[in-house]
C-alpha cells in the first residue's frame, strides 16, 4: 500500500533500520513483509513466535525521533494485540484508534475490541466508521452498501469520541493498490475530506485525551 514492496531491511548499530517510504523521509515503515523471501510466502506461526517478533519490532528497530508511531494490527483480541500493548506500554502516550464498518456484524465484533481496550487499560482516541456509504459516480445516488451509522452509535454507547465516517471510494482503493499517496494526489475524491478531518482530529485531540 505504501509502494515499499521488495525493499530490504538493514542493520545499524542501534538496531534494524526501518524503510523510508517517501522522499522527504517523513514516513518510515517496518513490517514482517520485508523479512519474507517472496510476497506469496505464508507466515504460518503460532502465538509465541508472533509475540517475539512484535517485541523486536518495538525494541530493536532504530525508529529515531518520532512524532507518531502508528501500529496497524490484524483483526481480533489475541496474541498480536496483547504483545503490542505490552511492548508499547512503557512508552506513553499510547492510545487506540478503533475502526469499524457500519453494519451490525462488524459493530458486534468491535464492541469486543473496545472491551479489550478497557481491560488492558488502553485509552481509546476514537472510533472511525469506514466504508460508510457509496456515491454512485453515474447518478450520484448514495447507497449504504454496508448499512450506515453503526460506528457512531457504538462510540456513543461506549462513551468514546466518534471521529468520523469514511465513504467507499474506488479512487482510494485503487491508489492503495498502486501505492500512491491518496492524500496528496486525490484531494477531490469522496474519501479525502473525511480522512483529512479525522487526521486533524487525531492530531489535535489525541494529546489531551491521552495525557
Amino acid at each position: 500500500m505504501l509502494r515499499a514492496q521488495g525493499r530490504a531491511v538493514h542493520q545499524c548499530d542501534s538496531g534494524w533500520v526501518p524503510v523510508f517510504v517517501d522522499q522527504e523521509q517523513s514516513i518510515s515503515l517496518m513490517s514482517v513483509g520485508f523479512l519474507l523471501e517472496s510476497p506469496d510466502e505464508a507466515v504460518v506461526w503460532r502465538g509465541p513466535k508472533k509475540n517475539a517478533l512484535i517485541k523486536q519490532f518495538v525494541a530493536d528497530v532504530a525508529w529515531g525521533q518520532l512524532d507518531y508511531l502508528v501500529v496497524d494490527t490484524p483483526p481480533g483480541t489475541s496474541d498480536e494485540h496483547m504483545a503490542a500493548v505490552e511492548a508499547l506500554r512503557p512508552y506513553s502516550p499510547l492510545g487506540a484508534l478503533v475502526v469499524t464498518t457500519p453494519q451490525a456484524v462488524s459493530v458486534g465484533d468491535v464492541r469486543r475490541e473496545l472491551t479489550f481496550c478497557r481491560k488492558t487499560g488502553l485509552q481509546v482516541v476514537g472510533v472511525v466508521e469506514n466504508m460508510s456509504g457509496f456515491v454512485c459516480p453515474h447518478c450520484a445516488e448514495c447507497t449504504n452498501v454496508f448499512s450506515r451509522g453503526g460506528g457512531e452509535v457504538l462510540a456513543s454507547l461506549a462513551g468514546v469520541p466518534f471521529l468520523g465516517s469514511v465513504p467507499l471510494d474506488p479512487e482510494l482503493t485503487r491508489s492503495l493498490e498502486e501505492g500512491q499517496d491518496f492524500i496528496r494526489d486525490f484531494p477531490k475524491s469522496p474519501a479525502f475530506p473525511a480522512l483529512f478531518s479525522i487526521a486533524q482530529k487525531v492530531m489535535s485531540e489525541a494529546p489531551a485525551r491521552l495525557s
Partner: protein
C-alpha cells in the same frame, strides 16, 4: 482450560519445558520429559467423532472483512435447503465470533447432554456452534493467547455432539495462525475435503490469498476453490455497475488461472445482505453458492 505462561515456546518445541518462561508452569515437567511432543490423543478422539460427518469444508481468507462468515452462513443455509441434508456450521473465529449474529442466534446458549455439547439448531437440519454462545454479553471480549484458543477448538471438534452430518462447514478467522493450524492438526486423521478461500477483487486482498494458498499447500489441505466477493456494485437507482474494489491485477479470475485453482464464482456487493444479516435472515441467493 489451563493458563499458559507468556512466552510459552510451544509444547512441540525443542525448548519445551526448558525455556526461561517455563519456570513455574504446571506442565513444565511434562514438556521437559518430551511428552508434549507426542501426538495429541484428541486427534484420534476427533477422528472417531468425525466418523458421522461425511464432508468437512474449511472456509478461509487471507484478509479480514472479505465476507468469509457471510459466505459460510449462506453456504450452510444453501446446503440445508434440502431437508434431507444435515448441515453443521462451526465458527472457530474465537475473538470475533460473527456467526451467531449472522444466523439470528444471538443470545442462544449451549447445552450439555450425556453425549456432549449440543449445537444450537437454526433449522431442524442446520446446527451451529460458536464461542459466541458461551459469552454472557455482546461486549465480552475473548482475550486469549494461541494455546487457549487451540484448546477451545479441540473441544469444539471433540466434545460437540454433531450427530449424523452430511456437511460440516468450518468458518475461520482471517490469516494463517493458531486457529488454522489447530483445525488442520486436529482434523488431520479425519480427512478434510478441502478449503474454500474467499477474497475481494483487489490485489491487496489477492496477495493475502496467495499466502493462504501457500498455507494450504504447506499443510497439505486440498483447495476446493476461490470465491470472489464484492465483485461489482450495481447501483439500485441507475443500475449501472461500479467496481468499488478494482481488480487492478485481473481479480480472482486471473489469479486462479495462473495458479490453476478453480474460481467457484463471483458475488456482487448487495446492500440487502447487510440488512438481512442484521435481522438474522438469509436472502434466497444460495443458488450462487449451490451451483458451485
Amino acid at each position: 482450560m489451563e493458563e499458559v505462561p507468556q512466552g510459552c515456546p510451544g509444547t512441540g518445541s525443542a525448548q519445551a519445558g526448558r525455556g526461561a518462561s517455563c519456570q513455574g508452569c504446571p506442565n513444565q515437567r511434562l514438556c521437559a520429559s518430551g511428552a508434549g511432543a507426542a501426538p495429541d490423543p484428541a486427534i484420534e478422539e476427533i477422528k472417531e467423532k468425525m466418523k458421522t460427518v461425511k464432508h468437512k469444508i474449511l472456509v478461509l481468507s487471507g484478509k479480514g472483512g472479505v465476507g468469509k462468515s457471510t459466505f459460510s452462513a449462506h453456504l450452510a443455509h444453501g446446503l440445508a435447503e434440502d431437508e434431507n441434508t444435515q448441515v453443521a456450521l462451526l465458527d472457530i473465529d474465537i475473538c470475533g465470533p460473527s456467526i451467531p449474529k449472522i444466523m439470528g442466534l444471538e443470545g442462544e446458549q449451549v447445552h450439555q447432554s450425556g453425549s456432549g455439547w449440543s449445537p444450537v439448531f437454526v433449522e431442524d437440519n442446520l446446527g451451529v456452534m460458536s464461542v459466541g454462545f458461551l459469552l454472557s454479553s455482546p461486549d465480552d471480549a475473548v482475550i486469549w493467547r494461541g494455546p487457549k484458543k487451540n484448546g477451545m477448538i479441540k473441544q469444539f471438534l471433540r466434545d460437540v455432539d454433531w450427530g449424523e452430518v452430511d456437511y460440516l462447514i468450518v468458518d475461520t478467522p482471517p490469516g494463517t495462525s493458531d486457529e488454522h493450524l489447530s483445525a488442520v492438526q486436529y482434523l488431520s486423521a479425519a480427512h478434510i475435503d478441502g478449503a474454500v478461500i474467499i477474497t475481494t477483487p483487489q490485489e491487496v486482498s489477492l496477495q493475502d490469498v496467495r499466502k493462504e494458498i501457500n498455507f494450504c499447500h504447506k499443510v497439505k489441505l486440498p483447495i476446493i476453490g476461490v470465491v470472489e466477493n464484492m465483485s461489482v456494485f450495481i447501483c439500485p437507482k441507475c443500475k449501472k455497475e461500479t467496481q468499488i474494489f478494482p481488480p487492478t491485477t485481473g481479480g480472482a479470475e486471473v489469479m486462479c488461472q495462473d495458479l490453476k485453482i478453480p474460481l467457484l464464482g463471483k458475488v456482487p456487493l448487495d446492500p440487502h445482505i447487510g440488512i438481512q444479516e442484521f435481522c438474522g435472515h438469509h436472502p434466497p441467493k444460495e443458488e450462487h453458492f449451490l451451483s458451485s
